[in-house]
């Protein structure tokens, strides 16, 4: 979590850096020091301070389910031999690792996750590009999984490691939101590969790319990790 003071100090110091180093050699995209992150942090703090913490995103009816583009990585087989092998056997040997600040770190098969919980919701996916799509998602609430693994009081962020070598994190407010799912089903079937099989995150109050696909490891951490910083993508995208 970013404290007000931290945000202010980062903002001011980066403003100073930007003024002193007009010809800075950072690669694309422009991040203007940390000024853009300062705006993201302002939005994050404003949302957390002003909006009710556990308000639910709107849910739709089955007839609202729409066509749904699959973007970003649509098959990690080329990136990961493990993934290629697992997808060849319908993910029977897949084991989700839950580790870090938990009292019972462990491995979960798809059947374990299905036994742990089954929540279904029909929600809207809002892509940062501007398009939207509605789908039905089935999965176990992330909060249920974290409690099953014995999440410790030192936990501050939940990190998701993926087969397409991505990493993203969310805060505890989002992690224990009732609509935050580790989804294993989509539109009444098992989750298709192009939409993140075997499991993906559903995070309904942020922009689509935070609902990260192809999760292989969940790490409960006391540290803040901002993987998107180098490419200029905001960490918090409640928008």
């Amino acid at each position: 979590m970013i404290s007000r003071r931290q945000a202010l100090v980062t903002g001011l110091s980066s403003l100073g850096a930007a003024l002193m180093l007009p010809g800075c050699t950072k690669p694309l995209p422009p991040t203007y020091g940390n000024i853009l992150r300062m705006a993201d942090n302002l939005t994050y703090m404003a949302h957390r301070a002003l909006l009710p913490g556990q308000s639910l995103a709107r849910e739709y009816s089955y007839s609202d389910v729409s066509s749904f583009p699959a973007t970003g990585t649509t098959d990690p087989s080329k990136l990961s031999e493990d993934y290629a092998r697992l997808s060849g056997t319908s993910f029977d040997d897949f084991r989700l690792s839950v580790e870090g600040q938990v009292s019972k770190p462990g491995l979960y098969s798809l059947a374990d996750l299905m036994n742990l919980g089954r929540t279904t919701q029909i929600t809207k996916h809002t892509c940062e590009e501007g398009w939207t799509a509605i789908a039905e998602w089935t999965g176990v609430q992330l909060g249920t999984l974290l409690q099953h693994a014995g999440i410790l009081p030192s936990a501050r962020f939940i990190l998701f490691h993926t087969y397409d070598e991505w990493l993203d994190s969310i805060d505890m407010m989002d992690a224990f939101h009732p609509q935050t799912l580790i989804a294993y089903g989509m539109n009444g079937k098992t989750l298709p590969i192009q939409h993140g099989a075997p499991i993906r995150l559903r995070l309904e109050r942020q922009i689509g790319y935070k609902s990260i696909k192809y999760i292989k490891k969940i790490e409960v951490s006391d540290k803040f990790v901002d993987y998107g910083e180098d490419i200029g993508w905001a960490w918090y995208t409640g928008i």
């Binding site: 694309l28 995209p29 422009p30 991040t31 203007y32 000024i35 853009l36 992150r37 300062m38 705006a39 993201d40 302002l42 939005t43 949302h47 909006l51 009710p52 308000s55 639910l56 995103a57 709107r58 739709y60 609202d64 389910v65 729409s66 066509s67 749904f68 583009p69 699959a70 973007t71 970003g72 649509t74 098959d75 809207k124 809002t126 892509c127 940062e128 590009e129 501007g130 398009w131 939207t132 799509a133 509605i134 539109n187 079937k189 298709p192 192009q194 939409h195 309904e204 109050r205 942020q206 922009i207 998107g228 490419i231 200029g232 993508w233 905001a234 409640g238 928008i239």
Partner: protein, 250 residues
């Protein structure tokens, strides 16, 4: 410069009006620029809640996308039947680096909301809106409106001195301040999944996120047209007079 003893006494806008005018102008330019940048990622507009490359568009804007992708593959239907919604995979050639446009847009939106709120509070409490902007009901006679429109179309006899605006001017300013800018704010917030989870009625007001997005675009075009019109009228009715009033105010 010699003191002018002309018909119009030298009038300057008050400091808070000048400051907010230029701050709002600056943020508006930034918002328009980053808004176009964001739009170029997906220049298709829709109505309702849903819209994407696999559904028909309401308007397809003739502007190029600012990234390239390699087309769609692996089309599969979700359900049985011909009318089933489908899924397809997008291949990409160039990774999408548009995050800065969004973050900058929201930074400027914050600035505009803060400046705009201060402007509204000041305008209300100093009587600026009541005295200079808000058209009086008794003024809105067909005859007066007709006369004013004719004067504008002929570009003749347009009475406009700083702070003493003519009828069309006040109607236009009132529309921009009390209608177009609030609509921009509301439709902008309607595109935020966090905000609409807390305030779901926003989705009902516009009829859905994509309707809000389309309106956000159309109103931004209206504001850009206003900007051009405003600039033209400033030149027509005395560029120097207006610029002085809105800057050094002497």
């Amino acid at each position: 410069m010699p003191e002018s003893q002309s018909e119009t006494p030298s009038v300057g806008h008050r400091l808070w009006v000048r400051l907010s005018h230029w701050l709002i102008t600056l943020t508006f330019f930034g918002l328009a620029f980053t808004g176009i940048e964001i739009l170029m990622v997906h220049p298709r507009l829709y109505w309702g809640e849903v819209g994407n490359d696999l559904t028909p568009a309401l308007i397809e804007l003739p502007i190029s996308r600012n990234y390239k992708h390699g087309g769609w593959e692996n089309k599969v239907a979700f359900f049985d039947g011909k009318s089933s919604p489908i899924s397809a995979s997008r291949t990409y050639d160039i990774f999408n680096y548009n995050g800065w446009g969004r973050s900058l847009h929201f930074l400027l939106a914050w600035l505009l909301v803060i400046t705009g709120s201060l402007y509204l509070v000041m305008g209300l409490f100093t009587g600026h809106f009541y005295k200079h902007i808000w058209p009086r009901l008794r003024e809105l006679t067909p005859r007066a409106i007709y006369k004013d429109i004719v004067a504008h179309l002929r570009l003749k006899n347009i009475e406009s001195t700083p702070g003493n605006y003519n009828l069309s001017q006040r109607i236009t300013y009132a529309l921009v301040i009390f209608w177009l800018f609030p609509v921009m704010l509301i439709t902008g917030l309607t595109m935020s999944p966090a905000v609409t989870a807390a305030l779901p009625f926003l989705l009902d007001w516009s009829g859905g996120l994509q309707s809000a997005r389309t309106m956000h675009f159309l109103v931004s075009v209206a504001l850009e047209l206003f900007l051009i019109l405003h600039f033209v009228m400033v030149i027509v009715t005395g560029f120097k007079k207006h610029i002085v009033a809105m800057t050094v105010a002497k």
